[in-house]
Amino acid sequence: MSVKSYRAAIREALEHEMQRDPDVVLIGQDLAGGAGGGGEDDAWGGPMAVTKGLVGKFGRERVLDTPVSEAASIGAAVGAAAAGLRPVAELMFCDFIGVCCDQILNQAAKYRYTFGGQDQVPLTIRTTIGAGQQLGSQHSQALYPLFSYFPGLKVVVPATAYDAKGLLATAIRDNDPVIFCEHRLLYRLREDVPDESYTIPFGEARIVEEGGDVTVVALSRMVHVAAEAVRALREDGIDCDLIDPRTTTPLDTDTIFDSVEATGRLVIVDEAGPRCGTASDIAAIVAEEMFNALRAPIRRVTPPYAPVPAAPELERSYVPDASRIIAAVRSVMER
C-alpha cells in the first residue's frame, strides 16, 4: 500500500495487465510520443501522461502510437479484439467520439450480437471526461450516458484512484467492450492504493457515506463534490447516504433501491447533461420501481442544457457544485 495518484493507479493497472497477458496492447495517439521525431522517445507518455514509461518496458510493438485517426485506430482495436487480442485503445477526449461513433456504437457494441454470439470483443477504450479546465465545448463533456445507451458496451466511471486501478484491471480482463471514463480533474487526486494487482467487480456500487435521511447518488468527480455537500449537511443535522455506482453499465440498482427504500428521498448528481443522461436514467428507474417508497420528488443536479463554455466564470456555473447539491437535498427534506 502506498499513496498514489489516480493517474499513477491507472498506469499501474495497465502495467500489471500487460505483464500478466502478452495479448494486451495499447493503441492511441502519443501513448509514447516522439515517434519519428529527432528528440526524446516517450516524450509525452500519453496526452495525459498516463502511459509514461510503458513503451520502455513493453516496446513499440505493444504500445502503438497512431496517427490522428480515431476511426481507423478504434476500428483496428475492435478488429484486433475480435481476433483475440486484448487491446486498450485511448480516445484522448470523449468529445472525439464524433469521429469514431460507428466503430464504437455499431462495431464494438454489436459485433457479438450481430454475428450470433460467434465472437467476443475484449476491448477497453480509455477516454477522458469532464469540465473544469477551460477547454471549451469540444474538450469538456461527460458523455458516458451516450455509451450506456448502447447494449453491448460496459461503462466505467471511477471516482477514486483505488477504484480506477481495480476497475481498469477488471475492464481489461473482461470479455466485452468496456468504455473506461477518466475524469481529468481527478488525475492528481492522491490516496492509499495497494501496490499489487486487484480487481473490482462491475455493477457493484460503493457506499461512500451512510446517513439514512436522503439518498444521494453521484458519479465520477461529482462523488467528491457530493461528499463535500454531505459533510456540510451533516453539520446541519441532515444525514445522507452517498452512493457511487462506479459503473453505469452494469448499473447496481439494488444498492440504490435499498437506500431509497429507507430514505424515501433521492438526489442524483451528474456532470452529464440534464436530458437523456445518467441522472434521468436513474430517476426513471427509481420512479418506476420504487414509486411507493418515495416521500418527495426525485431531484437531479446536473449542468444546464447548454454546451460547456470555456470562460472560467461560465464554466463554474455550468458544473454542479456543493451549494446546488445542498439546496437540492434541503428541498427534498421539506416534503
Binding site: D23, V25, E61, L64, T66, P67, S69, A71, A72, S73, I74, G75, A76, A77, V78, G79, A80, A81, A82, A83, G84, L85, P87, V99, D102, Q103, N106, Q107, R112, Y113, T114, F115, G116, G117, Q118, D119, Q120, V121, P122, P151, G152, K154, D174, N175, D176, P201, F202, G203, E204, T247, T249, P250, D252
Partner: protein, 332 residues
C-alpha cells in the same frame, strides 16, 4: 496453351474450384432474385452477381490463418470462402440454423471458424477492422493476411482513407480489395469518385496499387496473388481495384432507372466473368463442355437443397433476443 506470363497462374484444379465457386454464386443469386420477386425473402438483399471473379480470385490465395472482411454484397464472398451454403441461405431467410442464428441477415454473413468477417452497415469500417485483424495476425506471428473487401462507395468514407494510412504507417499485412462496380447505390462512380481512379489512392498512402478487369478471372487472381504474397511476406499493405460489373440493382427491388437503357444487357453480353472463364477453361485448359455441365448440374442440386432447407427451417427462437449481447454477464 497455358498462360505463362503470370506469376500466379492458376492450376487446372484451381480453375475447377474457382469456376465452381463462381457458378455457385451466380446460380444462387439468380435463384435468390427469383425468390425475392416471388415475395419469399423476408429481408433486404444486395446481389453480387457479375463480381464473382473478384471473390473467387481472392479466396484462391487465402488459407485458414487469413481473414476476409466482407461487404454488404455478402453472399458471393461468403460462398467463395467456403461457408456452408445451407447456413448462408437460412441466414438470408432469417431462420434458425443460419450462420448468425438469424440475427445478422444477408449483409452480415459471418463465420468465425473461417475467419470470414461479416459486413458492417456503415460500409467503410471493414477497412479499419481488417487493420485490427492484421495487427492480431502479426502479434501472434501467424503468417496470415487480412483482406478488406470494399465497395467503390465505401472508399469515399473517411475511415477508409484513415485505414489506408494506418495500414501503411504500421506496415500491416492487409490487402484492400476494392470492388468497383460502377455505382454506389444509385450514384455512378463517374460522379462520386474524384479523379475517377481509386487505384491511384494507393501510392498516395505509400502502397503499391493496381487496377484490374474484374471480368477476367485470371487478372484478378494474378493481382490478388501479388498483393496477398506481399502482405504475407512482411511487405506491408497493397490496394487492388477490381472493375467488376453489377448485374442487379443496389438491392433487390431496385428498379435501376438511373442506369442507361440496355446497360445491364450489354454488361452481361460483354463483361461476364463466368462465360469468359468457362470459355478459357475449354480453350486453354482442356476442360470439356460435358465436364463443366456436370459441375453445373451438381451445383444446381446443392442450391435446390439449400433453398428447400431454408424454407423448411423453423423460425428463430424468441429466447435469442436477449442472448449474446454480452460475453460476460456478471453484474448485469
Amino acid at each position: 496453351m497455358t498462360v505463362s506470363r503470370t506469376i500466379y497462374a492458376p492450376s487446372r484444379e484451381g480453375l475447377r474450384d474457382a469456376y465452381g465457386a463462381m457458378q455457385k454464386i451466380r446460380c444462387f443469386e439468380e435463384r435468390l432474385h427469383a425468390e425475392f420477386a416471388a415475395g419469399r425473402v423476408p429481408s433486404s438483399v444486395h446481389l453480387y452477381a457479375g463480381q464473382e471473379a473478384s471473390a473467387a480470385g481472392i479466396c484462391a490465395h487465402l488459407g485458414a490463418q487469413d481473414y476476409l472482411h466482407n461487404t454488404h454484397r455478402a453472399h458471393g464472398p461468403a460462398i467463395a470462402r467456403g461457408a456452408d451454403l445451407i447456413a448462408i441461405t437460412k441466414e438470408i431467410y432469417l431462420r434458425a440454423g443460419g450462420l448468425c442464428q438469424g440475427k445478422g441477415g444477408s449483409p452480415h454473413l459471418h463465420d468465425a471458424r473461417l475467419r470470414l468477417i461479416g459486413a458492417n452497415g456503415g460500409v467503410g469500417s471493414g477497412a479499419a477492422l481488417a487493420c485490427g485483424s492484421a495487427l492480431a495476425i502479426r502479434h501472434r506471428q501467424e503468417n496470415g493476411v487480412a483482406v478488406a473487401l470494399l465497395g467503390d462507395g465505401a472508399c469515399n468514407q473517411g475511415v477508409v482513407s484513415e485505414s489506408f494510412n494506418l495500414a501503411s504507417v504500421w506496415k500491416l499485412p492487409v490487402v484492400f480489395a476494392i470492388e468497383n462496380n460502377g455505382y454506389a447505390e444509385a450514384t455512378a462512380t463517374s460522379y462520386a469518385i474524384a479523379g475517377d481512379n481509386l487505384a491511384a489512392r494507393g501510392p498516395a498512402f505509400g502502397m503499391p496499387s493496381t487496377r484490374v478487369d474484374g471480368a477476367d478471372y485470371f487478372a484478378v487472381h494474378e493481382a490478388a496473388g501479388v498483393a496477398i504474397e506481399r502482405a504475407r511476406s512482411g511487405g506491408g499493405p497493397s490496394l487492388v481495384e477490381i472493375m467488376a460489373p453489377r448485374f442487379y440493382g443496389h438491392y433487390e427491388g431496385d428498379a435501376q432507372k438511373y442506369r442507361a437503357p440496355g446497360e445491364v444487357a450489354e454488361l452481361r453480353r460483354t463483361r461476364d466473368c463466368l462465360t469468359r472463364l468457362r470459355q478459357r477453361m475449354i480453350d486453354e485448359y482442356q476442360f470439356s463442355t460435358a465436364e463443366i455441365d456436370a459441375m453445373d448440374a451438381e451445383i444446381g442440386v446443392d442450391i435446390d437443397r439449400a433453398f428447400a432447407e431454408a424454407a423448411a427451417a423453423p423460425p428463430s427462437d424468441p429466447a435469442l433476443l436477449m442472448r449474446d449481447i454480452y460475453a460476460d454477464r456478471s453484474g448485469l
